[in-house]
Each structure stands twice: as structure tokens, then as C-alpha cells.
């Protein structure tokens, strides 16, 4: 039995068999093996080379007809690398000398070569690093392929244990079978956390080296309430957790009982609670948990689920499915928000050195107009089916907003020309999630119908902290005084211009932060569906007057620690049983 403490990011308890997965786009952890396993790993490496050669040779021969000499040359070069004895020898020598897995040896060796190339001054030669990167991934796909496939073709319930979970992997999750997530990397607002919360499955992240403590098929307990994972628990521990699980489920049922009751403060102020969703089949969950609409419909899954770019019809069908569940309730569709991750990086020959400040989200869309317009057309076509609103992410200045709106108008004109109907008065809003947008929100407010404050990115960019990096994640806090000043500015500017405002970041699902948000003037929150009942219960236990006092007090404080301690105590006073 091994107990590890991490960060609890999605509540719940889960006991089950684990499935350990690796991500091809991240460094493979050092996995030591027993000396007796070395021959097997060497054989695995050889097999991976053999299969990769077969795969490439097939690809090369398909190019026979094409006159693309360059492409054929690329394949030919890659083939020679794969057949290079000295490369293979370097890898097998490493497995032998250091007793590591084939994945680790392949990845380390090829990355050494890559870094050799990137150091060369000549641009033409340093670009060849991309070829080596490609070869590395081809080999890793061979080595990890079987395991990755597992996750898409599950037939029994599992707990997924991974070094880091990528958006592509979560898009492929079969959600009937994934009962919990544990990852070595990540923080409260990382991708694994967001997905787990929206699916309502327990998750613990930031476990550092849990993947090395478990093997596939081991029994694992995930305690998403306390941030604990237990590998191979003994009988007593399992029994203890089964009791705890029952108690937890009973509490959930009590919360579900308030589903039909409105989210109104004790002094009669109505707060609108919406759900954040990623997949169309989560729409039902929003209604089941008492949500009044979708405040954030993430559309990235459409791009990550398959190899091909989604067609207009793919978009339309996904939107229609969600809208039909929600009927006349609002559905805010956020346009593609990818970037700083696998999807956009894979399309690049050379990776961006600083992707979070790079070509991501709306910037990526504005550079890929055909792709962007396809999505806009689908949203507009779906706008006749219900109360659809459109939201643009990561807008960082007024020109960008104007350009984006111009493109939307272009698409509307195209639809007019084709006599396709859509809602001409569709509400258009933006996510306010960069400091520049927050600081200029007075200007931006004049040209949009609503703001939605995305506190996750706003916090990351304001505090210059990578939310997924465990080494600095303690600096990440949405209630840092700097972030709160920006949030207050945005709220005030939205009120002045009389446009709609909501908060859709993780803050909205954080029980401790709800009073502060209401006190700052927020009347609409969009959050992970499983959290709606708990947040509603808090709202029903407070008065706006109390909340205003909390906000005033917080705004007079200068340190994050002081603020978070104060907020925790204030929330405990209101609703002791929730904490």
C-alpha cells in the first residue's frame, strides 16, 4: 500500500483498477526496470523500429504517383534514420547500461540529437530538428500505441493514471468507463482538472511520481475530496473507503434535493447559474444539476476528437444536439480556443518557443480564416434553433475585436447570399481573460453584448504564473489583489455600459469565492455542472449585504494570503457544513 498526497481538483471517491497511460507529446518519465527485463525492452525497441519502418515504407510508396519529390525525400531520409545501425545501437546500449524502458531510451536519445541540431547556427540545418522530432514521435507511437488505444476502447471501469493528460486524450475518453483521474503533473486549473470536474469524476493531480508507484491493473483509490491517492490499498483501507463513499453519495443526494429551488440570496437577489460544458452529452447534466443554461460551451473537442478538421456539418450537429436539450435556455458557444498545446503545435514545423504568449485561440483563428469561418457558419446556422450566443476567447485589444466582428459579418453576408437563415441579432460577446482586455474593458464594452470573465487565463497572465507548473503554482491565485482589481474594473465597465456580465472561470465553482464575486457585483456564474448544487446552497445562505461587506473588506487587503484566509473564514461562518 502506498499513499500519496496531491491536489484535489474534482470531488468524489473512486475505487478501481488503474490504467497507466503516457502522453506522446511530453517527456517520458524515467522508468527504471529490473536488469532481467532489459532484453525484453531491447526487443520492444527493435520491434518499434521495425514497425515504424514498415509504416514509413508504405507511406513512401503511396507517394509514387505524386510528383512531390520533397515529401518523398523526407520519407526517404526518415527511413534511413530508422535503418541507421548506430542510432539503434545508441538506444539499445542505453537500455542495457542504464536499465530504462524502451520509451525512455528512444525519447532521450532522439532528444539529444534534436538539441544538437537546434544549437547549430545555420537556420537550414537547425530546422532539421523537426525531422528528428517526427521520428521520435513515430517510434513512441509504436511503443505506446497499444496503450493509447486502450483508452478509446475500454470495456471495463478504470481509473486513469498518467504523467500528464493531454486534451487529445480526454477527448478520446469513453466516459462510461473512466471513473477517476490521477496525474503526476498539473494544478487546480489544468486540463485534467477541468475535464474531471465537468464529467463529475474524482481527480487528484500534482502527484509528482505516482505513475512510477503503480502498474497497470493495480487497485487504486482516488479521494478527490482530500487530494489523496492510494495504490494497492489493504482490505481495511478499502472497507473504510467504501463506507466513506456511501456517506459522500448521501451528501450529494441532499444537495441534489435543492435542484428545483431557485438560486436566490436570503435578501431576494436572483443569481443566474449556468453550466460550463465540453461535450454535447453534458448538456443534460447541466439541467439535472439545476443549471439555467450553458454559459460556456467549449468547442475544442470537435478539433481534438479526430484526425481531420471538423466539417461545418460536424459543428452544426454538435451544437444542434446541445441546443435541443436546452430548448429556449441560453447557450453561449465559445469559438475555438486551442493553442499552446498539441493541436496548434503539431501544425507547426518548428514549435513556438513561448506558446502561451503565441499563436493561440482567437489569434490562431484569425490566421486560419477558412477554418474559423466554417465554425462561425455552423454557429449562425444553429442560432435559429434556440437562444444561441457567440463568444470570442482571448481578445486582447479593440482591433482584434473589430477584425473578428468583421469576419462574422462576412460570414453573415455569405449566408444571406445563399438564403440560409440565421439569427441576425445574435448576441456577440468576448471572454475577458487578458490583462490588456481587462484594462481596456471600457472601450471593449461598447462593441459587445456581453463579457464573460475567464479568471483562469486572466490570473495566469496577470501574475505571470503557468498554472500547470507545480514549481510555481502556489503563486497562482484568482484572489490575488492584482487579479481582483482587474476583475472589479471589468465588472464596473460592464455595468456602466449596461451589458451582460458573467464569470466563467474556476472561481465560479469555488465555494470560498462566491460571496466575494456577488459582493463585487456579479449576478451570473457559469461553472462545472456537478458544482451547481453546492454553489446554489451557498447563494441561498447569504445576503447581498453580507457579500458587499466581504468584498469591501477584501479590496482593502493587500496580500493574497490575507484575502484567502479571510474568505475561507467568511464562507465557514455562512455554511459550516460545506467546509
Amino acid at each position: 500500500m502506498e499513499i500519496k498526497k496531491g491536489i484535489a481538483v474534482s470531488p468524489g471517491i473512486s475505487i478501481g483498477k488503474c490504467l497507466v497511460i503516457d502522453a506522446e507529446d511530453y517527456r517520458i518519465p524515467r522508468r527504471s526496470i529490473k536488469p532481467s527485463q532489459r532484453m525484453m525492452e531491447i526487443q520492444r525497441a527493435r520491434n518499434a523500429f521495425r514497425s515504424a519502418i514498415k509504416e514509413l515504407a508504405a507511406l513512401e510508396s503511396q507517394q509514387e504517383e505524386a510528383e512531390q519529390r520533397n515529401i518523398k525525400d523526407i520519407f526517404a531520409v526518415h527511413l534511413r534514420f530508422l535503418r541507421d545501425r548506430s542510432l539503434r545501437k545508441r538506444i539499445t546500449d542505453m537500455i542495457h547500461a542504464e536499465s530504462v524502458t524502451a520509451e525512455f531510451a528512444v525519447s532521450t536519445t532522439l532528444r539529444e540529437i534534436t538539441s544538437h541540431f537546434t544549437r547549430v547556427k545555420d537556420a537550414y540545418i537547425s530546422e532539421r530538428a523537426a525531422d528528428i522530432y517526427d521520428i521520435e514521435r513515430r517510434l513512441l507511437r509504436q511503443l505506446l500505441g497499444g496503450k493509447r488505444e486502450d483508452i478509446e476502447h475500454l470495456t471495463e471501469e478504470v481509473i486513469v493514471v498518467a504523467r500528464q493528460i493531454s486534451p487529445t486524450q480526454t477527448a478520446g475518453f469513453n466516459r462510461d468507463f473512466v471513473k477517476g483521474i490521477a496525474s503526476d503533473a498539473g494544478g487546480r486549473t489544468g486540463h485534467a482538472a477541468i475535464v474531471a470536474r465537468s464529467l463529475g469524476i474524482p481527480a487528484v493531480v500534482g502527484l509528482e511520481d505516482f505513475t512510477e508507484a503503480v502498474g497497470g491493473g493495480n487497485t487504486v483509490i482516488i479521494d478527490g475530496n482530500r487530494g489523496i491517492v492510494i495504490a494497492e490499498p489493504d482490505q481495511d483501507t478499502i472497507a473504510e473507503y467504501e463506507t466513506y463513499l456511501q456517506e459522500f453519495l448521501q451528501m450529494e443526494q441532499r444537495l441534489d434535493a435543492i435542484r428545483e429551488k431557485p438560486a436566490v440570496t436570503r435578501d431576494g437577489v436572483r443569481i443566474t447559474l449556468l453550466g460550463n460544458i465540453e461535450f454535447p452529452d453534458e448538456a443534460q447534466l447541466v439541467l439535472e444539476k439545476g443549471g439555467e443554461g450553458i454559459g460556456l460551451y467549449r468547442t475544442e473537442f470537435l478539433y481534438l476528437g479526430s484526425e481531420q478538421e471538423p466539417t461545418e456539418q460536424d459543428h452544426y450537429e454538435a451544437y444542434a444536439e446541445t441546443i435541443n436539450v436546452l430548448k429556449d435556455r441560453p447557450v453561449i458557444i465559445r469559438t475555438m480556443d486551442l493553442g499552446a498545446d498539441k493541436y496548434t503545435q503539431d501544425k507547426r514545423f518548428v514549435r513556438e518557443p513561448n506558446p502561451f504568449l503565441g499563436l493561440r485561440s482567437i489569434r490562431f483563428c484569425l490566421r486560419n480564416l477558412t477554418m474559423f469561418k466554417t465554425q462561425l457558419r455552423a454557429i449562425l446556422r444553429a442560432s435559429t434553433l434556440g437562444d444561441v450566443k457567440i463568444m470570442f476567447p482571448l481578445i486582447s485589444n479593440i482591433q482584434e475585436l473589430m477584425q473578428t466582428k468583421l469576419i462574422l459579418r462576412d460570414v453573415m453576408e455569405d449566408l444571406d447570399d445563399e438564403s440560409i437563415s440565421y439569427n441576425r441579432d445574435i448576441d456577440v460577446g468576448i471572454m475577458v481573460e487578458t490583462p490588456s482586455a481587462a484594462l481596456t474593458s471600457a472601450t471593449l464594452a461598447r462593441d459587445v453584448d456581453f463579457f464573460s470573465i475567464g479568471t483562469n487565463d486572466l490570473t495566469q497572465y496577470t501574475l505571470a504564473v503557468d498554472r500547470g507548473n507545480e514549481m510555481v503554482s502556489t503563486l497562482y491565485s484568482p484572489v490575488d489583489p492584482a487579479v481582483l482589481r482587474l476583475i472589479r474594473t471589468v465588472i464596473q465597465d460592464a455595468h456602466k455600459e449596461q451589458i451582460d456580465l458573467s464569470v466563467c472561470g474556476e472561481v465560479a465553482s469555488e465555494p470560498e469565492h462566491i460571496m466575494l464575486m456577488i459582493g463585487l457585483g456579479v449576478r451570473k456564474l457559469s461553472l462545472a455542472p456537478p458544482m451547481i448544487p453546492e454553489i446554489k446552497q451557498i447563494i441561498r445562505s447569504v445576503t447581498v449585504e453580507d457579500c458587499n461587506a466581504v468584498a469591501r473588506k477584501v479590496l482593502s487587503m493587500n496580500s493574497e494570503r490575507q484575502i484567502s484566509t479571510y474568505l475561507r473564514n467568511a464562507a465557514r461562518e455562512v455554511l459550516p457544513e460545506a467546509f
Binding site: 523526407i74 531520409v77 534511413r80 541507421d84 548506430s86 542510432l87 537550414y124 532539421r128
Partner: protein, 106 residues
């Protein structure tokens, strides 16, 4: 070009050649070099100021990262050493890997 060793089937030839195509010894030229070198029985060793590599390994050859103008020492040892050196010199300096020299139109 001087044969250094004159035993019957073990001949060593060594020659300095210069990369003359504009883009240098990038992947495709490295592939051509390796393919040609591999046709010979002789061992082929290519060196720059810092390191010596196996002329039949694309990984090692490409890691020389030889840009245009770089001088490389090619050493062949074996029964067909002279033929190997001649052929490799022709590929690098005369054919220039069928690529343009600096200033030439592509």
C-alpha cells in the same frame, strides 16, 4: 591523394573535400552521401575539426551539420577505397548534390 598503406587489399585513402552547395549538408545531401558511401565495401570515416563520424550513418553524418564552405576530411579504408573517395568527391564538389551553389538560382 596518396595511398598511405599498400598492403594488397587494405588500402587507405584520405582527402579533404569542401561543401559547395548553398544549403550545406542538410538531410537530403546527407542521405545522398550515405547512400553512395554504403555502396562501397571500404570503411568511410568523415571528420571535421572536432569529431570523426561513420560516413555510412545518416545520423552521424547529419550531426556534422556541415554548412556551405565547410571542409571535411574523408578517409576510406578497404579494397575499394580509391573508388569510394573519387565517387564521394565527385558528389560533394562536382555535382554539389544536384543543388545550387551560393548565388545560383534555384
Amino acid at each position: 591523394m596518396q595511398p598511405e598503406d599498400q598492403t594488397l587489399d587494405q588500402v587507405v585513402f584520405e582527402l579533404e573535400i569542401q561543401i559547395k552547395n548553398a544549403d550545406g549538408l542538410h538531410m537530403r545531401p546527407a542521405m545522398q552521401f550515405v547512400d553512395l558511401a554504403s555502396k562501397f565495401e571500404s570503411e568511410i570515416v568523415v571528420s571535421n575539426d572536432q569529431t570523426s563520424v561513420d560516413g555510412k550513418s545518416i545520423m552521424q553524418m547529419s550531426m556534422l551539420a556541415a554548412t556551405c564552405g565547410t571542409k571535411l576530411k574523408v578517409r576510406a579504408e578497404g579494397p575499394d577505397a580509391k573508388e569510394a573517395i573519387d565517387a564521394l568527391r565527385e558528389l560533394v564538389e562536382v555535382k554539389k548534390f544536384d543543388e545550387p551553389a551560393p548565388g545560383e538560382k534555384k
